[in-house]
Subunit: 211 residues, 2 copies
DNA sequence: ACTAAACTTGCTTGCCGCTAACAAGTTTAT
DNA sequence: ATAAACTTGTTAGCGGCAAGCAAGTTTAGT
């Protein structure tokens, strides 16, 4: 209590335990993202991650329990950024406008945080693997995104920008599926233009939902 | 040369060297598919694969050079089945009819060879990982599939089943992307109905390309 | 109020079972 | 006999665990 007045975050002196801990987790999460980009899941060893973050080989296990635990943290931290970006762009928009804005928000996200997106993608796709322990996290995230999109559709039908005989949940599946599929192809085949694919999909979407 | 007349595949006696070799590769490929379903990429160890196939821990390395080599073989063997199925179903069809038939062919493929499809999917998605050595194979396969779909579109425009102002390559990207995205979501969230998603996409496709 | 002991938490190191890959063997076909 | 198929020995590196060390925080005695 008495000595807390002298704390200075800018200087490296006298960190609080909680600060040290949080800093270590953040550094290791970032190191993990970096190494996932450079070397992939198998190549991103706990030793490399710990040392890249400026610590020892054992700290990641200590903080996150396991390699999967660390990756769960990475997944969570990236998806938080994405949800934030999405809310910022879409705001109070609804219907077709929200669907299209969501699309360009996603494009901006991919362009703005390419390393984060790639790491998320790697983990995401790796989650299908029965040996990975974060499949439920991904599944739940997807379910949430479908729900958001379905609500946009419902509101669009109420507002008149989307024709009424579309089942919102079905269109949401297609919408999310297209995004996944486009991103996927783009990651696999660098020659493709992600922007063009998104624009093309948007134009299809407009035709599709026209009342 | 002289003794080849007495070969009996049903009995285990006196196999030719080429036969032994081919049999071993086939058994190990199948064992790999099985183990990819049960335990994923990391869990499908060369030891487990070799022993499940009835051999020693070292034979897979001997035949395929590396774990990645074995997985390349799995990928190839499954994609051969898929291409065969596709050709069988689509035959000489063109245009919208070919696109829709391709869709149901894929659905039947998923239903008919679930373990093969799942293994392919796991490897496929794992190929995005910088550490995996079979990304080019997947990229080339995708490119080929896009080309096939684009030709269907072109022919459909010539035949009148698809409106002319669509760029074939773009629609092919969307088509393949949707298939990837639907399959992906279905694998991640078992509650979804793949059949319904495919039917839904088909109906969208029909609206989209109507001249 | 000050300080030193007691305690908690962050972090490192040594170890174990396991893996992929290679090299050197043994068995089997030709 | 010779070459191929196949097995076994070996090595470096992995993830995860447990023991131990170091730094931060609380508490008690003066």
């Amino acid at each position: 209590m008495a000595a807390t007045a002298a704390i200075e975050v800018s200087t490296d002196r006298r960190r609080t335990q909680a600060e040290r801990s949080a800093l270590a987790e953040q550094r290791m999460t970032e190191a993990a993202i970096e190494l996932l980009n450079e070397r992939g899941i198998a190549g991103a060893t706990l030793k490399a991650i710990g040392e890249k973050a400026g610590y020892s080989r054992g700290l990641a296990t200590h903080h996150f329990g396991s390699k999967a635990g660390l990756f769960r943290k990475v997944l969570k931290s990236v998806s938080v950024i994405w949800v934030d970006q999405l809310n910022r762009h879409v705001g109070e928009k609804t219907g077709l406008e929200a669907l299209c804005t969501g699309l360009t928000a996603h494009y901006r996200f991919v362009r703005g945080y390419p390393r984060h997106v790639f790491a998320m993608q790697v983990l995401w796709l790796g989650s299908l693997d029965p040996g990975s322990d974060f499949k439920p996290n991904v599944a739940e995230f997807l379910r949430g995104q479908r729900k958001v999109a379905a609500r946009w559709v419902e509101e669009g039908q109420a507002g008149g920008s989307i024709r009424g005989d579309i089942e919102p949940a079905r269109l949401a599946e297609q919408y999310l599926g297209s995004i996944i599929g486009m991103l996927n192809q783009w990651q696999m085949s660098p020659g493709l233009s992600l922007k063009r694919m998104y624009q093309e999909y948007e134009s299809y979407l407009r035709i599709l939902v026209k009342p």
